[in-house]
Symmetry: C2
Subunit: 530 residues, 2 copies
C-alpha cells in the first residue's frame, strides 16, 4: 500500500510538474493585444504650448512678413493652377514651356455614378493607410530649455522583445536632499543592468520605474545602467518614453522592430564588370516579333551571353529561340505594366536593364557605364538616352514634386528637367523620372513595381510610385537606338497597323483607369505638367 | 546705315537677352553634387562624452551587476549554439523541442573555391548597402541638460527643395546685453518668414545664420519665424541642424524627402465583402494538372467569379480552361519562388490569397474571415490552417529573431510559436512566419517579393525577407484541405513519381543556392531552429 501510495503521489507530482512546465513553455502570450489601428490624438502635452503658429496669437511684438520667403511656405491646400498663357513670344513654348493643370478629381468624379460614395471610400482607405503607417517616432517633440534632464533624442533602437541599455540618461541639478527621476513607457519595461549602492530602484521590470538617491553622482551612475526591454511585439514601430523629474518632463522615442535584412547580390568580383553576371535585360513584346528579333540580334553583338527576359502577351505567341532567353507567355492582351512587372519579377541578377522591344543596341550602348555609376554612387536607377532615326536623342528627364492638398488630395507637379549634375560623372544628372531605357538595382525596382492595371500605356506612373524610394539618375552618354517609327500610313505592314491600333487607340475605359490610379490609388486631386 | 546699325544693336541685345533668359531658365543646377557614398565617421561632438560604456571607465562608484538583466543585453557577437541535448525525458522533444544550430558560414565557405575572396566581396557589398541606406536621422543624439536652447527633437520634415518653418525654436536665459543664436545646416539654408524689429539677422538665405537681439522676447518671437529650405536634392535623407548659443550646442534632424505616396485600392464599399472585387487567388503549378483542376473546382463551389492567377513552369504546358483564370506559361522548370513572384506580380486586387495547387477549398475556407481581420487591424498578411487527410491541421506559426553578429554576419533564430493573441479575434495570433496558405495586402506582398533563385523549395525565406516589413497574423479557423499526400510507393501515378523526383531530390547545387542566400544575400553566419 505504502509503495502504491508513494507511486501515486509521485505520479501526481510529476504530472503537475509536466503540466506546469507545459504551460510555462507554451510559446506566446495568451493575453490579447489590440492591433486595431488606434486614433492617435494630438499628443498635446508633448508640445506643451511650445509650438505655436507664429502668424497668429498676440501681436505685442511687431513683425513684418518677408514675402519672398513666406510665399514658399507649404500650405495644406494646394491649388490646381497652370500658366495663364500670357507670354506670346515666338518660340516662347521652347524657352518657357507652358504649364498645364489637370483637375484629376473633377475629371474622374464627374464620370462616376456615385462620386460622394467614392470620395468617402477613398477617405476611409486613406485613413486606414495612415493608421497602418503611423509611427510614434514621427510625432513632433520639443526639447525643453533649462531642463535638468539629459536624454537621447534619436538613434535608440531595440529589436522586438530584446533588451538594450538606454544611452545618455542623466540628471544635472543643484544638490538637494533627494534626487529622483521617473521613466514611463507603453511597449516595454525598464530595469537596471547593475545596481549602484545608495540608489533606490522602484518598479524594476515594469513600465514605470522610479530611481532616487540622496547623492546626484550615484544616481547618474545608476542612470547609465538603465535598460529597456520591449514586451509588446511589433515588427516596426516606436515606443514613446517619458523621462521626468520634479517639474520637468522629456520625451524620446525608442524604435522597436526587426531592422532591415540586407539583400546582397553575389555577382563575382573581377576587376572588369562581367555584364552577364551583373545584368539581366528585361522587355515586353506585343505584335512586333520582327523588332524583337532585331533587338536580340543587336544585343548579342555586344553581350553574347547576357540573359534576356521577355514578357509576351500576344494572342498567338511565337517561339523566341536562342540561348539565355527566358520567354514568358501571358494571357492575351494583359498589357504593358503587367508585362513589365512580370519580367522584372523574374530577374536574379543584381541589376536589371529595361528596354523596349523596338530598341537597337549599338557601339554606344555601353552598359558598363550604367553599372559603373550604380556601383560607385547611391543611385538606385540610371536612365540612358534613346536616339531616334532622325538623330534626335532624348533622355526624358523630369522632376516630380508633391504638394499637400488636404482632404481633396494632393497636387502632383511634373516638370521637364533635372536637379543637379553628379560629381565625377559629368554626363549624368539626378532627376525623378527618366526615359524608358534604364538600369536599376533589381531589389529596389522590384520593391517599387509596375502597376499591372496599366494595360495600354504608362510611363510616369512607375516614377510616381518610386518617389521617396529610388534615387534616380540619367546619363546622356549611354545611347540606344530606336527602330524607326517614321512610317507613312500607306506603307505600314499589317502587323504594324494592328500594333498601332492596339497601342494608340485610347479607349474611355483605358483613360478611366489612369484617372482612377491618380485619383484613388495615389490620392491626387491635381496634376500640373508641361 | 543708322537704321542698319540700330537693327544690329537691337539684334545683339535681344540675342543677349534670350541667351541670358535661356541660361537662367535651364532646369537644374550645373554645379556637381557628390553622391558617392561618404564614409560617415562617428559624430563624436554630437555625443560629447555623454554616452559612455557604463561597464568600463572609473570604478569610483561601486556597482553590482544584475545578471538576470545584464545577460539579456545585446552584444554584437552572437554565438552559434544549439541545445546540448541534455534533457532525455520521454517526449522531451514534444515539450522542449531541441534547438539545432547551423553554422551557415562554415557550411557555405568550406565548399567554395575562394572563401577569402567571397568574404571580402560580401563585406564590400554590405558596406555599400550600409552607405546607401545610411540616414542621418538614425545617428545617436543626446539632449544636453540645463541648456538654454529649446528645439524640436523629432517630427520635422520637408519635401525636396521646399521650405518650412522650423517649429519649437527658443532661447531661455537670464537677461544680458545681447542674446545670440546660431543655426547651421548642410543640405539647406535658413531664413526668416517675417522680420521682428530689434533683431539682427545675418546670413538669411545661407547655410549658417545668426540671430541676435538685446531683448530676449523679440529674439524668441523672431525664432518662431525661422525657415529651413532644402537646397541639395535627395529623395530620402535628413539634414543635421546645429542650433547653438554661447557655450551650448544642440542638434536635431530635419527629414528631407518625397514622403510616401499611398497605394490605395478602390474595391467598392458594399456592406458585405465582395471577395471577387477584393481578392485574387494565386498559385503555382507543376506536373499536377489533376490536382490543380480539383483546386479550381473546389474554389468555384464557393467563389464562382474570383480571379485565379496560375504560374506554370511545366515542360509541356496544358491549357487550363475556365472563366476568370489567368494562366501564365514560364520557361520549363524556372521554379517555385520564380513562379510565386510571377503570380503575385500580376495581381490587381487589394488582397492576394496564396494557395498551393494541391489544396482543396471546403465550407471552412471562409476567405471573408481573412479579409475581415485585414480590413480591421494593422496586419499585412494573415495565414490560415491546412488540414491533412489524417485530420491533422497545421498553422506552422513561427517567430524569427535576428541577433547582431559583427563582421562574420548575424544569427538567425527561428522558433515554433507566436507572440500574442489578437484582441477581438480569439482564434488569431501574431507571428513572423505562417503556413503556405495566407492572404496579404497585395502591395506589401509585392514589395517583399519571392526570391526567384529558389527553384525547388523554399518557404521561410519569404518571411525572412519580410521581417520589419509585414505585420503577420495567423488564424486557426480558416481552413483549407490538403489533397492526400499518403501514397504508397507502388501506387503512385507516373506524374506523381515525376513530381516527387523533381520536388524532393535535393541536389547539391540546389542546397548551395539556399546556403548562398542565407550566407551572402541575407548576411547570416548562423541559423538556429527547432
Amino acid at each position: 500500500m505504502r509503495a502504491n501510495y508513494k507511486k501515486f503521489v509521485g505520479l501526481i507530482l510529476v504530472s503537475g510538474l509536466l503540466l506546469g512546465l507545459f504551460y510555462a513553455w507554451s510559446p506566446g502570450t495568451s493575453s490579447g493585444v489590440d492591433i486595431r489601428p488606434r486614433q492617435e490624438g494630438l499628443i498635446k502635452e508633448l508640445i506643451e504650448g511650445k509650438i505655436r503658429d507664429p502668424f497668429s496669437g498676440n501681436r505685442d511684438i511687431a513683425y513684418h512678413i518677408k514675402d519672398d520667403v513666406a510665399c514658399h511656405l507649404a500650405r495644406n491646400t494646394c491649388v490646381c493652377l497652370g500658366d495663364e498663357g500670357a507670354f506670346q513670344l515666338p518660340f516662347s513654348n521652347l524657352l518657357f514651356p507652358r504649364v498645364w493643370a489637370h483637375n484629376i478629381d473633377l475629371a474622374f468624379l464627374e464620370s462616376h455614378p456615385d462620386p460622394e460614395g467614392l470620395k468617402r471610400h477613398r477617405a476611409e482607405e486613406y485613413s486606414n493607410f495612415q493608421k497602418r503607417t503611423y509611427n510614434p517616432a514621427d510625432v513632433p517633440f520639443v526639447a525643453e530649455a533649462n531642463s535638468p534632464l539629459q536624454y537621447p533624442t534619436q538613434g535608440v533602437e531595440v529589436r522586438p522583445l530584446k533588451t538594450i541599455i538606454i544611452p545618455g540618461l542623466g540628471l544635472k541639478e543643484e544638490t538637494r536632499s533627494n534626487h529622483m527621476v521617473y521613466l514611463t513607457a507603453s511597449l516595454g519595461t525598464f530595469d537596471v543592468a547593475a545596481t549602484v549602492d545608495g540608489v533606490s530602484v522602484k518598479g524594476g521590470g515594469e513600465k514605470h520605474m522610479i530611481l532616487s538617491s540622496p547623492l546626484l553622482s550615484t544616481l547618474n551612475k545608476q542612470l547609465q545602467f538603465v535598460t529597456y526591454t520591449n514586451t509588446v511585439f511589433h515588427p516596426k514601430t516606436a515606443d514613446t518614453v517619458q523621462f521626468a523629474t520634479e517639474g520637468h518632463k522629456s520625451f524620446f522615442s525608442i524604435k522597436v522592430g526587426h531592422g532591415t535584412i540586407p539583400k546582397l547580390y553575389n555577382s563575382g568580383y573581377q576587376r572588369e564588370y562581367n555584364i552577364s553576371a551583373l545584368v539581366t535585360i528585361a522587355t515586353k513584346t506585343f505584335l512586333r516579333y520582327d523588332k524583337l528579333k532585331d533587338l536580340i540580334d543587336s544585343i548579342r553583338q555586344y553581350y553574347p551571353t547576357v540573359t534576356i527576359v521577355i514578357a509576351d502577351d500576344n494572342e498567338h505567341p511565337q517561339p523566341v529561340p536562342g540561348p539565355n532567353i527566358d520567354h514568358y507567355i501571358m494571357p492575351f492582351g494583359k498589357g504593358w505594366f503587367a508585362g513589365r512587372n512580370l519580367a522584372v519579377s523574374q530577374v536574379t541578377t543584381k541589376y536589371v536593364l529595361w528596354v523596349d522591344d523596338d530598341f537597337i543596341f549599338t557601339a554606344n550602348t555601353k552598359l558598363e557605364r550604367m553599372v559603373d555609376i550604380l556601383e560607385k554612387t547611391t543611385l538606385d536607377l540610371v536612365g540612358g538616352a534613346v536616339r531616334e532615326v532622325t538623330g534626335y536623342t532624348a533622355t526624358y528627364r523630369h522632376t516630380i514634386s508633391v504638394e499637400e492638398g488636404g482632404e481633396e488630395g494632393n497636387c502632383l507637379h511634373i516638370r521637364n528637367g533635372y536637379y543637379h549634375v553628379i560629381e565625377g560623372f559629368p554626363n549624368c544628372v539626378v532627376a525623378d523620372a527618366v526615359i524608358n531605357f534604364f538600369m536599376g538595382r533589381t531589389d529596389k525596382v522590384q520593391e517599387v513595381g509596375f502597376n499591372p492595371r496599366l494595360a495600354r500605356h504608362g510611363h510616369l506612373e512607375f516614377f510616381i510610385d518610386a518617389l521617396g524610394s529610388l534615387h534616380i539618375g540619367s546619363c546622356s552618354d549611354v545611347i540606344v537606338n530606336h527602330a524607326s517609327k517614321i512610317k507613312l500610313p500607306w506603307s505600314k505592314t499589317d502587323s504594324q497597323k494592328a500594333y498601332d491600333k492596339f497601342r494608340y487607340s485610347s479607349s474611355t475605359a483605358d483613360n478611366d483607369i489612369h484617372k482612377e490610379v491618380f485619383y484613388f490609388k495615389n490620392r491626387f486631386k491635381c496634376m500640373t505638367s508641361h
